[in-house]
């Protein structure tokens, strides 16, 4: 049976209805219409579903909605864009024209923003070790370049 959950999504508290165990990914996409967060694998491997919860990177496809408290801060790509439209990662991604098909890119960006919070001046090896999301178009080097560029922009 579906239940009601209180969630704080992109700064706004709202109630959603879902069956217990439903991954947060599907709640965000289907109940809240935040489709920037993508389904890729469903097992937390590819990272297309990457979001932030309380400032930490999370794979929303393996995170049951009932495991999240009403005061936990869920941020999706839509929230990041609305809150920080001039975020260095967004600017760098646009400047380097990173996306090809684009499907993984919102997840890559959510991973990159958190990565740069933890590692503000990363070297290439740190970027390679820190960015875990798959891209089937093979934009890995463009992503790494954009992260370096974002680090430069952010450290100005």
């Amino acid at each position: 049976m579906k239940q009601t959950y209180q969630l704080k999504i992109n700064g706004k508290s709202q109630s959603v209805r879902a069956a217990p165990g439903t991954p947060l990914l599907w709640v965000l996409r289907e109940q809240v219409q935040l489709t920037g967060t993508k389904y890729g694998c469903g097992v937390g491997q590819c990272g297309a579903c990457t979001i932030h919860i309380d400032g930490k990177v999370q794979r929303s496809c393996v995170l049951p909605v009932d495991a999240i408290g009403p005061d936990q801060e869920i941020v999706t790509i839509e929230g990041l864009v609305a809150d920080s439209p001039d975020h260095p990662v967004l600017l760098a991604w646009a400047e380097m024209d990173v996306p090809q098909c684009g499907y993984c890119q919102t997840g890559q960006i959510m991973a990159a923003t958190q990565f740069l919070n933890d590692t503000p001046k990363p070297n290439t090896d740190e970027i390679r070790a820190g960015m875990m999301n798959y891209c089937r178009c093979g934009t890995y080097n463009a992503i790494a370049a954009a992260i370096s560029r974002a680090a430069d922009l952010g450290n100005k």
Partner: protein, 718 residues
């Protein structure tokens, strides 16, 4: 350059479209009433009175960058203001057929190659009409008018395209247009930021999975564990009585659970036990299939041979075999047996499609490479007239050939027809996407080379066995004709060439996979010629040059040599190269590895390409790099194996997808070229596998004849 416009009729003005300038320039003869109307109104270009220039792209955008590239081709000749150009994905429209593909289909790296002349003519004709409209307004000869960035100018007169669009729309399409010289190009060959980038960064871009409609239901699938066989319901498991489930229905390939939301549908579908009907299909493991393929490429199956290319251009198989035999009778020979496995496509966006069926209408929202195929299938399944079926297209979260198929479209239509009046979105799981693919077919190859006294290859035989993609999918397949999905003619000057194919019957579902037959033929040829170079103790690159007459691939190889020379003395490393030709272009790939204690590290990759006239140079480089990554993971550890028909992989990490952890740096160089545009989307994929294997041999490792490389016992990072 003067170009004759083929289609001269043009519907001037139109009810309800005041202020629009509509223009169509299709080489395709319209096939039905709907298409006549549409093509008469114009299919590619609208210029609005407020100055916006709308380009409806006929092609799928799945990462390859044709969204902008095709627009730039048209805008180049139109001379419009790029800032005012908007691009949208067209619906299914027979008048938008790619001249190279006989339909509105995306594949074979044919977008630019096919639409280049069509869109240039359209842009040039529209520009000419805008000039004529201005000339009439100012009462000056057309020849005294020129254009600049969306304006027609004559002396002190200036009028914007938007201002002129209505008048221009009432004029006839000119019979002849003058096209720009390449030296005049402002868009073609110049990089611009991609227009869809912003929406792909913010999450606003709509992929197939993102279609959201009022009152929508979601469907998930229950499919058999077996990759082939006729599905049957073993046990419903109570799925249909799960709260939120609307229906459980049989669909193509299995059963669909239609529910309020995806998670309800998916978890209910997992309760269903689906098996397959008994049949008498033999060879249900990939090991048996590959063993059979290897045997098929050998002499005991000679009676299955079809000549692909005969000695001296001969057309008779037996004669060519004899001629080859006599060509190698005196001297050293080298024989080798090679193979490549089945592979999955693994687009990041799983298969999905949304459809709504109403009494007199069927509407689809599809991430598809074949609007033509989707439309035809929808008409067939619904029984509705052609103009009652509407296909909207979305971005594709990767395609790679998989979204040319319509199995998931059929399922989507079936779910919608079971729920009239409500849109239904069907979504596959990742596991289903991996286990119910149309796989890149496994192939086996037998190569035989004969040499002259100096070690030059003077005779080359290559027999390739595999399940034929064209036999499976092409309407144009003829059993006796050369099968270009099984074989390719090597570009080397081998003097005596005998090429044979052996199409193997098999129930394994197969399909087009990025670079199709190049993926295996390039490996077979480039690994074999490298082995020959080693046998004669020759530098692999120089050895290739000895066998090449054509200046374009020679230039590509020499440029690769120069690019790699800076790194050739890196301590403890070895390198390998391979050359790919196809899609009207050439791409040489070099790779540097470290091989120590069976541990293989891929350090760096280089590529040099001549892909003719390039629309977007930076995008071309990214495509080649992405293509290399698409081939890299499978080369190292990519395979789809069947055990009792069941696919043994489920995810990206067990099917050979290149991961971020193991992505080496790639340096790409494009050579300037006067040749017509080549295809860039698939050019990078084939050569990385042979280049890697050649590097491994150069490092003192095993000579790998069977992919993936992990089979040889090397530890690889994918």
């Amino acid at each position: 350059m003067n170009i004759k416009i083929q289609r001269r009729e043009f519907l001037k003005g139109s009810v309800g479209l005041t202020g629009l300038f509509l223009f169509g320039c299709s080489n395709q003869k319209p096939v039905d009433t709907e298409d006549v109307i549409r093509s008469e109104l114009g299919v590619y270009l609208n210029i609005f009175s407020d100055g916006r220039v709308l380009f409806e792209t006929p092609n799928a955008e799945m990462g390859q960058g044709t969204y902008d590239a095709l627009a730039k081709i048209l805008v180049e000749e139109l001379d419009a203001d790029w800032g005012k150009v908007e691009i949208t994905l067209s619906g299914a429209n027979a008048a938008m057929a790619n001249p190279k593909l006989f339909g509105q289909v995306t594949g074979n790296s044919d977008a630019v190659r096919g639409y280049f002349p069509v869109l240039r003519n359209a842009g040039a004709a529209a520009r000419s009409m805008l000039i004529q409209a201005a000339a009439e307004r100012w009462n000056v000869p057309s020849i005294e008018c020129t254009t600049e960035n969306g304006w027609v100018i004559s002396g002190s007169n200036r009028a914007s395209y938007g201002d002129l669009s209505e008048a221009a729309g009432k004029l006839s399409i000119p019979e002849n247009v003058t096209l720009k010289q390449a030296s005049e190009f402002k868009f073609i060959g110049h990089d611009f930021p991609r227009k869809e980038t912003a929406t792909k960064i913010t999450g606003e871009a709509i992929f197939g999975i993102d279609v959201m409609l009022p009152n929508m239901l979601t469907a998930a699938l229950a499919m058999p564990a077996e990759a082939w066989g006729k599905p049957k319901m073993v046990d419903d498991g109570g799925a249909s009585s799960v709260d939120g489930v609307k229906a459980v229905i049989p669909v193509f390939g299995g059963f669909a659970v239609i529910a309020d939301d995806f998670w309800t549908a998916k978890t209910a579908a997992e309760k269903i036990s689906v098996g397959i009907e008994e049949d008498d299909v033999q060879r249900n493991s990939s090991a048996e299939i590959q063993e059979h393929l290897s045997a098929m490429s050998g002499p005991q199956y000679d009676e299955h041979g079809v000549l692909f290319a005969g000695v001296n251009g001969g057309k008779d198989l037996a004669v060519s075999r004899v001629a080859f035999r006599s060509a190698i009778s005196n001297g050293k020979t080298l024989k080798l047996q090679q193979s490549v496995p089945f592979l999955a496509h693994g687009a990041l966006e799983p298969l999905c499609c949304t459809a709504q069926f109403d009494t007199n209408k069927l509407t689809l929202w599809a991430p598809t490479q074949t609007p033509k195929g989707v439309h035809a299938l929808a008409v067939k399944l619904s029984g509705l007239p052609k103009d009652s079926v509407e296909v909207h297209r979305t971005f594709l979260g990767g395609g790679f050939g998989r979204k040319w198929h319509t199995d998931f479209i059929q399922q989507s239509i079936e779910t919608a027809m079971a729920m009239p009046g409500r849109p239904v979105k069907l979504i596959w799981t990742r596991e289903q996407d991996t286990q119910h693919d149309f796989y890149r077919p496994a192939h086996a190859s037998h190569v035989e080379m004969g040499f002259d006294d100096n070690g030059k290859i003077t005779a080359w035989k290559n027999v390739i066995a595999g399940k034929s993609i064209s036999k499976t999918w092409s309407a144009f397949y003829k059993p006796e004709a050369p099968d270009r999905t099984l074989h390719k003619v090597p570009l080397y000057d081998f003097k005596t060439i005998h090429l044979e194919t052996r199409a193997v019957d098999s129930p394994v579902p197969i399909g087009y996979w990025r670079s199709v037959s190049h993926a295996h033929t390039c490996f077979f040829t480039e690994a074999a010629i490298d082995e020959a170079a080693t046998t004669w103790d020759r530098d692999p690159l120089e050895y290739r040059l000895e066998h090449l007459k054509d200046e374009r691939p020679r230039r590509v190889l020499k440029a690769l040599q120069e690019l790699m020379s800076k790194s050739e003395n890196d301590a403890g490393t070895s390198s390998g190269i391979a050359l790919m030709s196809g899609y009207d272009g050439f791409c040489a790939v070099g790779v540097q590895i470290t091989l120590a204690d069976q541990n293989l590290d891929v350090n760096k990759i280089w590529a040099v390409a001549d892909c003719g006239l390039v629309i977007d140079p930076e995008n071309a480089k990214r495509q080649i790099e992405g293509g290399i990554f698409y081939g890299l993971g499978p080369a190292l550890d990519g395979k789809i194996e069947f055990d009792e028909r069941k696919v043994q992989s489920s995810y990206f990490n067990d099917s050979g997808a290149s991961s971020p952890f193991a992505a080496p740096l790639v340096e790409i160089k494009l050579l300037p070229s006067d040749a017509p545009p080549g295809g860039i989307g698939e050019l990078g994929t084939p050569a990385i596998a042979p280049a890697l294997c050649n590097a491994i041999a150069a490092a003192g490792g095993p000579r790998i004849r069977d992919l993936p490389i992990s089979k040889a016992g090397l530890r690889v990072r994918v």
